[in-house]
């Protein structure tokens, strides 16, 4: 417990509190009057309203589109299922700069919808909503589908035998068991879309703005720290409320269910209805996810002299024609991998310890900490980045110019995923096993090594994978941290896109494709290691 608490206190709570406090004090006197002033501004109110309603609409739309898929992934068996589950998760870890480009190809001018029906949705709120579906599809499929696949279908069958109709059986037996998972997924999606940044900027155009965008502008552009601080507090309050509800639903689910092996619940589709559903889900995935990703791959291969690997070859040299980087872009791949590995190690240690502590202890304080661990997902990257800047500036913690700050910031985002993955498994370990080992004379570390570790090893691997993938795609905090000159993949892509010229654009697409492949491979490896009955893998 001590280490995770210390980690969050030093690398999250303190920096965020410091930057917010700096904004709200003048010469040491608190200026709470600012809160009223900022909240009275009609523009800010507009932003608040838009942030809230777009998050609600995105969440509803995501559930509507992804729930049938959750059923299909849970109950039906079809070839390529594992690959597909990895593919739908790729968007979740891709940087938004890149996704914006891909998505415009679907919704914008000359895009698929435009060609087929002459419909253009770019710079409309629909583009934002659909992109949010694209990003969060996997959250619903994995969270709800993960649980659904472990519900015993025989319960529903029993209800049918007792005379219930098919729908009544589903409504009375399966639905109540699923509600907490659906609620948890909905809240995760709401959390992600409420704090949406890149998607809104790129696809919505300058007419739309969320709280997150506004905080960035006030901090990074205008240096209006008081306004930024008030907005941060508002976002905090909202996110805190969401997390409280989330923690409550997740806890209810964890205690209530007996789960079965998912391998036994899925069958090959039978009957026209199931085939049609499978077809519809596959078509949705194809249009909404595979097409945008495909566009990136296509553009990375489409050189001035037709298709080829020219852009990929260009990635290997720093100064092919002038030199955008001091290091060749391909080195960014290694930088990214190194940072992501360090971030994963930190996230695993901190998140694993937190999960272990949360398993062993109950009580309100500990539960509060559970929710607190999720907060970094809901706080603006610029707030964290600038907070680091003004707090980690004195020895022994003068980390402002150290490379370790990058993985530390990435680990902040990774920890919630580790905790979410480990917690259900650790809670499933029978306490009597540990007691028996202790009675037989094993020391606590040995108990952990010989009882807990073997049982949670696979969950640990899954958690590691998520933390790794999340750090690989993390862009926000990384940009605001002063870095020595070794860009990560997402940063390198952004820098390439920030320059004119065919080669730069092509290389940006090629690097994005590499990032996609690295993510997909990591996830596929994880799929292989998916624990059979533990319920891990959801987040």
């Amino acid at each position: 417990m001590a280490l995770p608490v210390a980690f969050f206190a030093v690398f999250f709570a303190y920096p965020v509190a410091a930057i917010t406090g700096r904004g709200l004090t003048v010469d040491g006197v608190w200026q709470f009057g600012r809160v009223g002033e900022v909240l009275a501004d009609p523009d800010i109110r507009g932003v608040l309203w838009f942030t809230t309603w777009q998050a609600l609409a995105s969440t509803a739309l995501t559930l509507l589109i992804a729930l049938p898929a959750a059923y299909v992934f849970a109950r039906l068996d079809f070839p390529g299922k594992q690959l597909l589950r990895a593919v739908v998760t790729v968007p979740f870890v891709l940087p938004t700069v890149v996704v914006g480009t891909a998505f415009l190809a679907l919704l914008g001018r000359g895009g698929l919808l435009d060609e087929l029906w002459g419909v253009r949705l770019d710079t409309s709120v629909w583009a934002i909503l659909l992109a949010h579906v694209f990003f969060n599809y996997a959250v619903v499929v994995r969270t709800v589908g993960g649980l659904w696949s472990q519900l015993d279908p025989r319960q529903e069958e029993a209800a049918r035998v007792l005379g219930a109709g098919r729908f009544a059986a589903w409504r009375r037996v399966t639905l109540p068991a699923l509600v907490p998972a659906v609620a948890a997924a909905a809240l995760m999606v709401f959390l992600f879309t409420f704090t949406s940044f890149g998607v809104v900027q790129i696809l919505g155009g300058p007419a739309y703005s969320t709280l997150e965008v506004e905080i960035y502008r006030q901090t990074a552009q205008f240096l209006d720290l008081p306004t930024a601080a008030v907005l941060t507090l508002v976002q905090f309050a909202a996110v805190g409320a969401i997390l409280a509800v989330h923690a409550w639903t997740v806890r209810r689910r964890e205690s209530a269910l007996r789960l079965v092996d998912p391998a036994r619940t899925a069958r090959r589709p039978r009957g026209a209805g199931q085939w049609a559903l499978l077809g519809a889900v596959l078509a949705t995935v194809a249009v909404l996810i595979v097409v945008p990703l495909g566009v990136l791959v296509e553009r990375s291969l489409d050189g001035p002299d037709g298709y080829g690997f020219g852009y990929y070859r260009a990635l290997q040299s720093a100064g092919a024609s002038g030199g955008t980087f001091l290091v060749p872009p391909l080195e960014a791949v290694w930088n990214s991998l190194e940072y992501a590995l360090a971030a994963t190690a930190i996230a695993l240690v901190v998140g694993g310890l937190a999960a272990a502590a949360l398993t062993r202890r109950a009580g309100r304080l500990v539960r509060g900490f559970d929710a607190l661990l999720m907060l970094p997902l809901g706080v603006s990257a610029v707030t964290v980045g600038f907070g680091f800047l003004i707090t980690l500036d004195e020895p022994p913690l003068d980390l402002r110019t150290s490379w370790i700050l990058v993985p530390l910031a990435q680990a902040l985002v990774g920890v919630p995923f580790v905790v979410r993955t480990m917690l259900p498994v650790l809670r499933a370990v029978d306490a009597r096993l540990r007691e028996a080992a202790a009675v037989l004379g094993a020391s606590p570390p040995r108990v952990w090594r010989e009882v807990d570790l073997p049982m949670v090893r696979r969950a640990l691997l899954v958690a590691a994978g998520f933390a790794f993938a999340v750090s690989l795609g993390e862009f926000g905090a990384t940009v605001f941290i002063a870095r020595p000159d070794n860009p990560t993949l997402p940063v390198a892509v952004a820098r390439l896109l920030g320059r004119a010229g065919d080669l730069n654009y092509g290389q940006a697409m090629a690097l994005s494709t590499i990032l996609m492949v690295v993510c997909a491979v990591a996830l596929l490896v994880l799929e292989r290691m998916r624990p059979d009955r533990s319920g891990a893998g959801e987040f």
Partner: protein, 364 residues
Amino acid sequence: MSTTKKFAVTALAAALGVSTLAACGGDKGDSGSGDPKKSKTVTLVSHDSFNASEAVLKAFTKETGYTVKVLKSGDAGAALNQEILTKGSPRGDVFFGVDNTLLSRALDNGIFTPYEAKGLGAIPQGVRLDGDKHRVTPVDTGDICVNYDKKYFADKKLAPPKSFDDLIKPAYKNLLVTENAGSSSPGLGFLLGTVGQYGDDGWQSYWKKLRANGVKVVDGWEQAYNEEFSGSAGGKKAKADRPLVVSYASSPPVEVLYAEPRPKEAPTGVATGTCFRQTEFAGLLTGAKNEEGGKALIDFLIGKKFQEDMPLNMFVNPVIKDAKLPELFTKHGVVVDKPQTVAPEKIADQRERWVKSWSSLVLK
């Protein structure tokens, strides 16, 4: 209780182990431990666009004995704001990348220590915006201008626009895409250009006409140039339909440089009457650990070697009179005779108000 405690101790050890290991394996540079007075490392803090060729940085080390460590942190605005927040305890010795739109904010916050660079005489008075105070030293200039897609205008047999006035003519209806002045530096530059051209009272009515003529506003340069502008590589792939974009005077040479094979002529051109001049400055940070090294670095930044290396790395123009431009620039670049400028103090004063009224004029 005790279980958790021991657990925590073990884990703490493990975590420390991880970070120690990481530190051992880290060749990512450290903050230069040892006696700061004799430090051989000088740290340059800048924005993401900073770039210099390795050979030139090595030449600096050879001349002065100092090694340059570069720290980049976000775009120009974010990087400067971070310097202001860490005033008095800076992360480096020299900051490069304050431009004239941000200069007053930097100076008012007093983050720089005056230093009169050696070789200042080679820089024209016109760009030395801090006059005799020498808190900042000009390093480069660049122009934000409307770029046009040559092929589009040739195909249509239409003359490309030359001036701000041209852009509101019916012939160029629905052709221009620009960036959000509230969040993008070229977007702000273009807005300031119109303020310079039409004055405090005139720019708003100009933008009303521009809006009526179908100007499109997107969030950032990346979207405008790569997605909407028909003259760029990305735009061609995205079937973009806007042949006019707010970009830089140096964008056409960059298009030539980053093409394989290199074309004989740039695919894009510059409307030279639509330009706003940006000047970027460097300054010695107050509280710098290595002040001597910092001074040497500023001297070097306005030295001939760095100045002549700069155009192909950051796509900006040198400030010293006798620096030679690379052939790429002389052949494919343009000379902007009369760029618009606005005094930095005025920008600092009015910027938020301008951006706000621009937003309500153009975005709502």
